[in-house]
């Protein structure tokens, strides 16, 4: 690995991307979302996980995009990919059959058990804000072997109580989770602009694993709607390497759209 960038010569988004990409070491078939996950997965493929197969819900398996895709249905994902499938095949034979090792989900709201809302803010029948809805998220949460979440943290998004549960997370009862009989049983990790979290094996609850350099626990507490569990061996997230920063800045997001 190259030397670490010094003096926090990187943005909060950049360390969030680098930390998330490292979690893809040893993963194989990865269901990618647009935006941050897209940069994360492309970074992982170019660094620690060269065999990562990028899978897009638009029906692309094994994408090798030559430019940063503007959406999950960008034509650059098709040209040079290993396979293009109908959406039925992608969801049925790849996702539902259990071929997807890890999938990324975003959230408007997430709770301590990793339940996710992407449907409405406010009442469903008369919403304050109508959000996009599930898309593939509900079946991804249920059928991917692991789910990673990458999102910026704040009291409006890390909430004590969701307004709507679009995609199920952990239930808080490990016996119940074990009996569910589906692959996914809640997210495996959450990476934010402040730190990284895992979910406790017994509690199913989001637990702070590392703080990004310079971030305090108080800052984390101020930016979520509940008092988080903290790992006994709370660590510091390793800073992005010079090479990771070069790839992010020069290749993956030269316009700084996602990494400001």
């Amino acid at each position: 690995m190259s030397a670490q960038a010094t003096d926090l010569g990187y943005s909060k988004s950049e360390i969030m991307i680098a930390a998330s990409a490292r979690q893809l070491a040893d993963e194989r078939n990865c269901f990618v979302g647009v935006g941050l996950p897209n940069i994360v997965c492309n970074l992982a493929q170019r660094t620690i996980s060269p065999n990562l197969q990028l899978v897009y819900e638009s029906g692309v398996f094994g994408a090798r995009p030559e430019r940063l895709p503007l959406s999950i249905g960008d034509p650059t994902l098709v040209s040079g990919s290993a396979a293009v499938t109908s959406m039925f095949e992608l969801f049925a034979y790849y996702l539902q059959a259990g071929l997807i090792d890890v999938a990324f989900l975003g959230a408007a709201q997430i709770d301590r058990f990793g339940n996710i809302n992407t449907t409405v803010i406010g009442d469903y029948a008369k919403p304050k804000v109508r959000l996009p809805g599930s898309g593939g998220a509900c079946e991804i949460a249920i059928n991917a072997r692991k789910v990673f979440v990458i999102m910026r943290q704040g009291t409006r998004s890390f909430v004590d109580e969701l307004h709507f549960r679009t995609s199920p997370g952990h239930s808080g009862d490990p016996e119940h989770d074990a009996k569910r009989g589906w692959w996914g049983s809640g997210p495996t990790s959450v990476v934010t602009d402040l730190g990284t979290y895992f979910f406790g094996e017994r509690s199913g609850e989001m637990t702070l694993a590392t703080l990004h350099p310079g971030v305090t626990i108080d800052e984390v507490r101020e930016n979520m709607g509940w008092d988080p569990k903290v790992a006994d061996d709370l660590g510091v997230t390793p800073a992005p390497t010079v090479e990771e920063l070069r790839l992010i800045r020069e290749d993956l997001d030269p316009g700084g759209v996602y990494t400001k």
Binding site: V34, G35, E57, S58, G59, V60, L70, S71, I72, G73, D74, P75, V78, S79, V84, T85, S86, M87, F88, F91, A92, L95, Q96, T119, Y124, K126, P127, K128, V129, R130, L131, P132, G133, S134, G135, G136, A137, C138, E139, I142, N143, F164, R165, T166, S167, P168, S171, R180, G181, W182
Partner: protein, 307 residues
């Protein structure tokens, strides 16, 4: 030649899309037939139930123009950009009138088309467990497997649109339609539709289709009308023909924010133009040149001749 179904967009919409119909214009980011949406707006259809996995800018335009009373969908947004403001106004504030919604997940919507296309009463999937979605959509129901394992699955009902409109790269005059690149659920939606309009970038000879039959996604037997319309999908894209016009998706966010700016845009780019060819001309040749990709040809395969 016999069996030609070629017609104009104006005639296809006039003959096949009626007030009150359930209409699906499909295409997952790729091959979204904006030209058909604009013609439906121009002909002032009303009370449509619009179905689409991903209502994006074209449905925001149509719903903003008042053609629909109901929307059936799985993901509602301007992909890679943000919100659809005209649709949000109708859902959040009934402005200028309410919009009924019925929502699924992507896999649920795909399987509704599969059930419709396969003449099945429902289709089972492993989704919706412990989600709130079934609580707001009673059409999504849980059943148990009739076999020994007794697994609980959710089922979705068939979707059979009165009219399905799909864009494709090329078709022959009888409607044998070929697509490459993202396939979305064009095939499932076409087979599920009671009436089907295929809109193609170019009409080609039947012989050209028969040279590469694996690429035929929709056979002419289910197609009622074939419309040749270049750039029919702009600002969406047609693989190999033109790229997505991302600047327009960004601009739409501004245009749709206020009813007045939306109305002005509709007047300038839809109502005041007779056809999509006028739209192409108004946009200017330089614009289309800028969206053209460099060629990247597929290799050829040998089908063999078995005479």
């Amino acid at each position: 030649m016999s069996g030609s179904k070629t017609t104009t967009m104006k005639d296809a919409i006039a003959e096949l899309v009626r007030d009150g119909d359930t209409v699906a214009i499909e295409g997952f980011t790729h091959l979204i037939c904006f030209a058909a949406g604009h013609e439906i707006i121009r002909q002032r259809r009303r009370d449509l139930t619009l179905c689409r996995m991903t209502p994006d800018v074209v449905y925001d335009q149509m719903i903003g123009a008042g053609v629909a009373r109901k929307l059936v969908f799985s993901w509602l947004g301007n992909p890679g950009v943000g919100s659809l403001h005209a649709i949000r106004r109708r859902i959040e504030s009934a402005d200028p009138e309410p919009l009924e919604i019925e929502e699924y997940s992507h896999f649920g919507m795909v399987c509704r088309y599969v059930a419709g296309a396969s003449n099945l009463p429902f289709f089972p999937i492993r989704s919706y467990y412990e989600s709130d979605i079934p609580s707001v959509n009673p059409n999504i129901r849980a059943i148990r497997s009739p076999y020994e394992d007794d697994t609980e699955v959710y089922v979705v009902p068939p979707l059979r649109p009165d009219v399905t409109i799909v864009a494709v790269q090329r078709a022959d005059p009888s409607g044998n339609a070929q697509i490459w690149g993202l396939l979305g659920c064009q095939k499932e939606a076409a087979f599920a539709g009671k009436r089907v309009i295929v809109v193609c970038e170019e009409v080609v000879d039947e012989a050209k289709v028969r040279r590469d039959p694996n690429r035929t996604i929709i056979p002419g037997v289910v197609v009622d009308a074939v419309v040749e319309q270049p750039f029919a999908c702009h600002p969406s894209f047609a693989q190999g023909y033109y790229d997505r016009d991302n600047d327009f998706y960004l601009k739409w966010d501004e245009i749709a924010r206020e009813p007045e700016t939306l109305e002005t845009w509709l007047r300038e780019w839809v109502y005041d133009l007779g056809t999509h060819d006028d739209y192409i001309e108004k946009m200017g040749a330089a614009h289309w040149d800028g969206l053209k990709p460099e060629p990247m040809m597929s290799g050829e395969v040998n089908y063999g001749r078995y005479a």
